[in-house]
Symmetry: C2
Subunit: 353 residues, 2 copies
């Protein structure tokens, strides 16, 4: 079982620690990082970072094994690591947005068929069951789907309504779902900046196979936004630090500053809080909105970077250290609209100009 993807396009290293890739070149993956920068090794032995989005699976006879090994690892993580589920349940705004969105569609859910892709602890399936669904398919491929999730469903009195499908979404069959199809497809599929480790394509493939023509997908749409930011505190902590001998026992470490600029500081920073005061311009939508009822898997696949242009008009002075990327998803109300739409987003600027 190999770890041998190939480069889908040519890639020119932009930092010392990256690898140049020729289109079609095969490399060994040493480490898969959640940042999207994987550590790869070329046939000549060079080791460096490569952008995940430039890699494709080698179409060899072992491909299925390889895909399954990746999935096994992914689902093992979700089955054994309670923390990801803890974070989901502690995120009250997110859970509440889903609960309220399901309530908006209570008429369709009551007596209807719901599918929850990547059900985890089953929280969304339980919301749907509470609203009177005739049947809820809770699809969960991790170990949670084997014992924990069925037990949670039982303990909450929904054993006759919620059916746990302990398999990958791609492996759900028409025999599992029945010929009527699905009225409401709900999933918490979003990853960091929407796209990292996202399971959107799994949701779309299930939609194409099982959603009724008048079915509902929740969330209904998704967009990615970006804005230039001034993050002077982070800059001082991580970059200017290296230029201040007082912090460095009197020594000159300026070459480390250069390395920080060329290397670490060019990688995505995943956990730095950004608020309105950091923004140098109002956020703009740079991808989407994608209509989750109609968008295709091909349309959401990451393209070559050259396809994305984004022009910024700065609205205030400051130092532009990079850009913040965030997403929102919308939960549309049914038509005719009985309630205003609900939205969940991670916008640091609550009142864009």
């Amino acid at each position: 079982m190999g770890d041998l993807p190939y480069a889908k396009w040519e890639y020119q290293a932009q930092r010392d620690c990256e690898l140049d890739l020729a289109a079609g070149e095969i490399l060994t993956v040493l480490e898969r990082r959640s940042s999207g920068w994987w550590i790869g090794q070329l046939a000549n032995g060079d080791v460096g970072e490569v952008p995940r989005t430039f890699l494709g699976d080698v179409p060899a006879s072992g491909e299925d094994d390889e895909v399954h090994a990746q999935d096994d690892e992914y689902f093992h993580e979700y089955g054994c690591n309670t923390n990801v589920h803890h974070q989901m349940l502690k995120d009250i705004p997110r859970c509440t947005a889903y609960r309220d969105a399901l309530r908006l569609h209570a008429d369709k859910i009551r007596g209807g068929i719901v599918m929850d892709v990547g059900a985890g602890t089953g929280i969304l399936s339980l919301f749907a069951a509470q609203l009177g669904a005739k049947r809820v398919f809770a699809v969960e491929a991790s170990d949670l789907g084997e014992a924990v999730l069925p037990e949670v469903v039982q303990r909450n009195g929904f054993g006759a309504v919620v059916e746990v499908l302990h398999k990958r979404a791609e492996d759900v069959t028409a025999a599992d779902v029945g010929r009527a199809g699905v009225d409401v497809l709900v999933s918490e599929w979003m990853g960091t900046a929407l796209v990292f480790e996202s399971m959107a394509s799994s949701v779309l493939r299930v939609r194409d196979r099982f959603l009724k023509p008048d079915g509902v997908v929740l969330p209904s749409s998704a967009s990615i936004y970006a804005a230039p930011v001034d993050v002077s505190a982070l800059w001082a902590e991580r970059v200017e630090f290296w230029a201040n001998p007082k912090d460095l026992f009197g020594f000159d470490m300026v070459p480390m500053l250069q390395l920080e600029l060329e290397s670490s500081f060019r990688q995505p920073v995943l956990s730095h809080p950004i608020n309105e005061s950091n923004l140098l311009a109002a956020p703009e939508r740079v991808c989407g909105p994608f209509d989750m009822r109609t968008v295709t898997v091909e349309e959401i696949e990451v393209r070559e970077p050259s396809e994305h242009h984004w022009e910024v008009t700065f609205e205030k002075g400051g130092n532009c250290h990079g850009c913040v990327v965030f997403f929102d998803v919308a939960f549309d109300a049914p038509n005719p609209n009985p309630n205003p739409d609900l939205n969940a987003n991670s916008n640091p600027n609550p009142n864009p100009n």
Copy 2:
């Protein structure tokens, strides 16, 4: 290039997410985690966690390639990720302890030969150069050793004293060091709980090859301590959380509590602060002290768990949720002793009974 170690001893899974291992069984490593619990896959396809300490390298013709691939990845991390060096330099007590320890040995360093294994940004090499070393070998295999570290040395005026050896410690040759040997061997080799990702064995091998008979190793000794702890706040946050429907939109998620106990909560918690009030007994030394001048690589290799027994007498009431593990290293003064010894430790109990 495979990722195929074997089980050195039989291992019985203690959690659902672990694998049973037969002695000698070969497995595929899917992910190497810093917690020491790696994700492995058996020949029958089962995926689960396995304790790193039970795995040995398969002695095959590809072994060297495998070791080098691991090293390449390790050193890539240290060359491209400025954060590890940032943390080291921001740790004033640690840096100061090293600086003061080198000062204690100023007589030996002045006009002598110093080797700094894993020099990083060169901070310890620069301390030694400031004390008048005739020659300092700064061994650094990561990319830092190629350009950044030589430039730092130059900019601080020690280009004629500090020689950067851009290679693994194991690859340093007698021709690099010269026939006189090394007077002072210094290294910041300690990992989490001393042993995780430790480079102690690299330091000991260099010591055996190059240290003069009256040479000094800094730090001079190392010990591991343990104490039972009551971590009720962490317990409430991570375990009791699952038993409180008020936090769970009214649902019963008790099966997740069971999973937390069997799974996540049994793994090492690496970043939870512990202070004296958490201790249920005074910490006891459970390994060491290892004399870094005389201990052998074999003596510090992790043994079978059954070799380690530790009996605890509880000194106060509370709930024992686990044990804290920490280490200290000591920097002995030269004999005759011109100054009291210096010590650096991570003991949460400053005044043990």
